[in-house]
């Protein structure tokens, strides 16, 4: 086994390798890549000019690349006369295509031809701490060298830091004064902030081997919401509770639902709410958003105590919490999201306070914490328990501290529903003989359900 210093040495070279490969991938056209490879092979065979004529091929290719390089170098300063504008939606959803437009106007006097466009996201290189803590999801398919060096892990971290993969678009010819709109699409790979940085326009040299990059800085930050899934209803929320300052809220009590607005379809929305006419007009699904008028107070508790190796399960837990968050306000008027991240957080959504999307924004930014125990969360929840009608807990394990947490809630008379998000079934559920793996045990729990991250959509449908 090679010592760790070798791994560090490799790690330091990753960014260099990335920069070089990025330069080649962006500055060489497919034909340029191909001919550069041919140049190297022919140069190897043609090294000895007495043995073969291959050196003549390498000489011609070298001359072509020399001229192409010179052309690219001198044309770097001549920025194309273009005006670029990016039109993005406010939100995206993790794992779902996010469509937006880039408008380009040719402000020059001649037609711009052969251009291509790449929208770039801001990305930072992972540090050693992040790299050493990362886990390769495809470890079993790697050879021992790849497993040791971990370049795939580094690439995965880069992808996640960037947040989405962007494809290059070839632009049509741009006559002077014409404004065109390029339809762009990206699929967010993670929730949180998506930092658009710049738009790059690539201009080829005459041979089409190399391309000159021209950058248009257009920084913009957009929020990627967690992915949501349809959720079966949880048990009734219990009795309504007295709410501090609830006079204004009490005016809204009722059973009817009020139309609020239209918005883009997000995975997990009820198909019944799709507004078909608007969908047909826009070419993508649009749903009606309602604001309910029924009002009890429910707490949604998210367990954030997670070791780095269980990132996938934590993401699934956030997704479960988000799915519950967009479902619950339709039944209850207020929903408190409680979790610990550096400090205790409580975010309330409901009529008159904030929209569900605000809660999704909060969930988009929540991060796991490696240190700390569930007791911190227990104290935080119990402080405001008197105003709650019921509690829904999204937990990452079903161990004794978490059982104690649930027991303490039950002891003060709150109905508690627990969703345990982990791949392996919790002990209690393993011992269960019930076919649907729902368990009512020890009179502590009103509802316990095991959610597998790999079968998230299925496991959230328990009816």
């Amino acid at each position: 086994m090679m010592p760790c210093s070798f791994r560090r040495l490799f790690f330091r070279q990753f960014s260099l390798v990335y920069r070089i490969s990025f330069w080649f991938s962006r500055h060489l056209s497919p034909l340029g890549h191909f001919l550069l490879g041919l140049l190297m092979v022919s140069a190897a065979f043609g090294a000895n000019t007495h043995a073969a004529a291959a050196y003549q091929l390498s000489a011609l290719l070298a001359a072509l690349f020399c001229l192409a390089l010179l052309w690219s170098f001198f044309s770097r300063r001549a920025t194309p006369p273009l005006s670029v504008e990016r039109l993005t939606p406010t939100y995206g959803t993790m794992g779902e295509p996010m469509r937006y437009q880039i408008a380009i106007i040719n402000t020059g006097t001649s037609t711009e031809r052969g251009l291509s466009l790449l929208d770039c996201l801001d990305v930072r290189f992972p540090n050693w701490k992040e790299f050493s803590a990362s886990v390769d999801s495809d470890k079993e398919h790697r050879n021992p060298f790849d497993r040791y060096v971990g370049f795939h892990r580094w690439q995965e971290l880069m992808r996640m830091n960037r947040g989405a993969s962007m494809a290059e678009k070839t632009l049509p010819d741009l006559p002077p004064g014409l404004r065109i709109t390029v339809e762009m699409e990206l699929t967010p790979l993670r929730r949180g902030r998506l930092r658009f940085d710049r738009v790059c326009i690539y201009r080829p040299e005459p041979f089409g081997l190399l391309r000159t990059r021209h950058t248009f800085p257009l920084p913009k930050v957009r929020c990627v919401l967690p992915r949501c899934h349809p959720v079966s209803p949880l048990p009734p929320a219990g009795s309504r509770s007295y709410q501090h300052g609830g006079v204004a809220l009490a005016n809204a009590v009722g059973e009817s639902e009020e139309f609020l607005s239209l918005r883009e379809f997000r995975h997990g929305d009820v198909p019944r709410n799709i507004h078909w006419r608007s969908s047909a007009k826009l070419g993508r699904l649009v749903v009606k958003e309602f604001q309910d008028e029924y009002f009890v107070r429910r707490a949604l508790v998210l367990d954030t105590f997670c070791v780095p190796s269980r990132t996938e399960e934590f993401e699934a837990a956030v997704s479960v919490a988000a799915s519950l968050a967009i479902r619950e306000p339709q039944r209850d008027s207020l929903l408190d999201l409680l979790f610990i991240e550096q400090q205790a957080h409580c975010f309330t959504a409901g009529r008159g306070l904030s929209e569900t999307v605000g809660m999704l924004e909060v969930l988009a930014g929540v991060q796991p914490i490696a240190q700390g125990t569930i007791e911190l969360l227990t104290q935080h929840v119990l402080q405001g328990a008197s105003a709650l009608s019921s509690v829904v807990c999204v937990l990452l394990a079903w161990d004794q501290p978490r059982k104690n947490f649930v027991e303490s809630l039950h002891a003060i008379g709150l109905p508690v529903s627990v969703l345990v998000v982990q791949e392996q079934p919790p002990d209690t559920i393993q011992e269960s003989t019930e076919a649907d793996s729902v368990l009512k045990t020890e009179s502590v729990l009103s509802y316990l359900r095991h959610i597998r991250p790999s079968h998230l959509a299925d496991d959230l449908q328990w009816n």
Partner: protein, 615 residues
């Protein structure tokens, strides 16, 4: 920007390769099979596994070619032979694509590491294959400028089809012309640079090894050889050797300033006799040199080898073989009891003045001048055996002029060159003609190879003295010198020996195959033939007849698509003229109206009627 395949690239490249590599029949076969794929409806259903097998077949062919070309010793280096055959070796990849159901070649068929991915990238092999042909055509005559012309034309053809169309045509053509001129300059410069480098290297090697034919030698030359255990010779003896056999490589008769020279060292043509002797050995010389000095035992009576008037010999008996093959094998008959009785010359007794003065005290002590030649020889032998030790570790280098004095009067230790030089010079002080001889000592028997191994460290020096009317061999180096040197072998020497014996066996095998080229159909061909027939039969049976997507008849092409085809062409035409594309959800008719292209409305309405029916 996609990589476009320019029409006719593949046929042109194949023909160019056939012409330049003088493999036109093979190029024609591949070309006919490629053209046939456009005409025949036969196709093979190629899944990922089948493509991988095609890639494996190309790899096997490539491996087979490497083994074959490296095992035969032709005029062209193996790497260029492989380059010449590359289009044939990689043809399964081309046929795999063009006889598939319109699929492209997955890169996993070329790169084994990509086979773990479910959807590897794909490649249209036609253009890479065409360029492979162009590269392979470069295995031909390096001085033929028709290759450059052909390459220029082909690259022009490919770049033309893939040009960005930003610049005016005249600018593009001027740029390309400039590249052609610059390319010509680069290749001319490359040729000149190589010539300069070769000249410089030749000078450097000459400085490093001033005398490849050993017209002189210095004390220390043999000592350097003793630092390596590399096998130089293999000696097969008909009889077991009870004593180390000395193989003489070169003899020297003039000494000056620590160097031995040959006087009148003119090499003349030599035709060896083929007489038999009581002892016979076969020597396998394994150094790849253009010319070698033959190592011969004393009392050589006849020598037999594959030479034809290539031997030269000087008056001291040193035999040189010019233009040797990579492996040199010759058989020598000898009788150790037969001594060379050619008389000495004045050079054999000459001593430089300063050397004579340096040896005078020792000669006086040993009383050499008053002894009979036999007694003088014995006295000198006794003197070295009694007072001297063998050592390769001579400590800090001393003034070269003083090395012999240091050996005789102070250190009393040294290696064979010191003993041989001192013996020769002391004999001359006693007026006995003597010569300095270098060669090898044969003493290490390899039981596996049933031969004696002569390593570099077995290089040796000794003396020949003219006593009793004949040249006698005198070796006053302590007899344990070989054991002393063997101790310096590294611990991995046995492994290196096994590797070396394999390398020697392959080298000899290659050379022997080259000496006796096979006539007619090769034996391995008879083994491969049934396999080829079986593979062909399997391919024939697994074919499928499909509508040819490349047929020229539009009615037979893609039966469900003609309705869309005309509209698709119209759309391409509009996009090519610089109009923005259709928005998502926008109907073709609305798109045309948005662009103000109502002139094409009828075509779109016709497309609607064909596609959806009604009016």
């Amino acid at each position: 920007m996609e990589l476009k395949y320019p029409a006719l690239s593949l046929p042109l490249a194949l023909l160019f390769w056939g012409w330049q590599s003088e493999m036109l029949p093979l190029a024609a076969v591949i070309l006919i099979l490629a053209i046939l794929s456009l005409k025949t409806p036969w196709r093979w259903e190629m899944g990922m596994a089948e493509f991988h097998r095609v890639g494996d077949l190309a790899t096997v062919l490539f491996g087979f070619a490497i083994v074959y070309f490296y095992s035969t010793d032709g005029d062209t280096p193996p790497i260029y032979q492989i380059l010449r055959w590359l289009p044939v070796l990689s043809s399964p990849l081309l046929f795999g694509q063009i006889y598939s159901m319109g699929q492209l070649l997955p890169l996993s068929s070329l790169f084994y590491s990509m086979r773990r991915y479910a959807n590897p990238s794909k490649l249209d092999i036609r253009l890479p294959y065409a360029f492979l042909c162009i590269l392979s055509a470069g295995s031909g005559n390096p001085d033929d400028q028709s290759y450059y012309i052909g390459v220029t034309a082909f690259v022009l053809w490919v770049l033309w089809f893939n040009r960005p169309k930003r610049q005016p045509l005249i600018v593009w053509l001027l740029c390309f012309a400039l590249a052609v001129i610059l390319g010509y300059g680069i290749q001319t410069g490359h040729v000149k640079l190589q010539a300069e480098a070769e000249e410089w290297a030749a000078d450097w090697f000459t400085a490093w090894e001033p005398d490849p034919f050993k017209a002189r030698t210095a004390i220390g030359d043999r000592g350097n050889l003793k630092l390596s255990s590399r096998v130089l010779l293999k000696v097969y003896s008909d009889q077991p050797l009870h004593h180390p056999l000395l193989l003489k490589e070169a003899t020297y008769d003039r000494y000056s300033d620590q160097h031995w020279y040959v006087s009148n060292a003119l090499f003349l043509p030599y035709t060896p006799s083929q007489q038999n002797g009581p002892y016979q050995i076969t020597v396998l010389h394994l150094l790849a040199q253009h010319s070698v000095l033959l190592a011969m035992p004393s009392g050589m009576s006849g020598v037999d080898g594959p030479w034809q008037n290539d031997l030269l010999r000087n008056r001291l008996g040193t035999i040189k073989w010019m233009e040797t093959p990579p492996v040199t094998r010759y058989r020598v008959a000898y009788d150790p009891n037969v001594k060379d009785s050619t008389g000495p010359t004045t050079f054999d007794t000459q001593l430089p003045q300063e050397t004579s003065e340096m040896l005078a005290p020792l000669a006086r002590d040993l009383n050499l001048r008053r002894l009979q030649p036999e007694q003088a020889v014995a006295t000198i032998a006794d003197f070295f055996a009694t007072h001297f030790a063998y050592s390769l570790d001579l400590g800090k280098p001393r003034n070269s002029g003083e090395a012999l004095r240091d050996f005789l009067y102070r250190r009393h230790a040294g290696h064979c060159e010191y003993f041989a030089t001192a013996t020769t010079l002391l004999l001359r002080t006693a007026a006995i003609p003597a010569r300095y001889v270098v060669g090898y000592s044969v003493q290490e028997f390899d039981w596996d190879g049933k031969a004696y191994l002569v390593r570099k460290r077995h290089a040796h020096a000794w003396t020949e003295a003219y006593v009793n009317g004949a040249w006698q061999t005198l070796d006053n180096t302590p007899t344990r010198w070989a054991e002393e040197e063997a101790k310096a072998d590294p611990w991995w020497q046995p492994v290196a020996d096994v590797w070396s014996s394999w390398a020697i066996a392959i080298k000899v095998w290659r050379w022997e195959r080259g000496q006796h080229p096979q006539q007619g159909f090769p034996w391995w061909g008879w083994l491969m033939l049934p396999l080829g027939v079986w593979l062909g039969w399997r391919l024939y049976r697994s074919r499928k007849k499909v509508a040819n997507p490349l047929s020229t008849d539009p009615s037979s092409r893609l039966p469900d698509q003609p309705k869309d085809l005309e509209y698709s062409r119209l759309e391409q035409k509009i996009l090519a003229s610089g109009h923005p594309p259709r928005n998502p959800g926008e109907t073709p008719l609305r798109w045309l109206r948005r662009l103000g292209l109502e002139i094409h409305e009828q075509e779109v309405l016709e497309f609607y009627r064909r596609r959806y029916g009604g009016e």
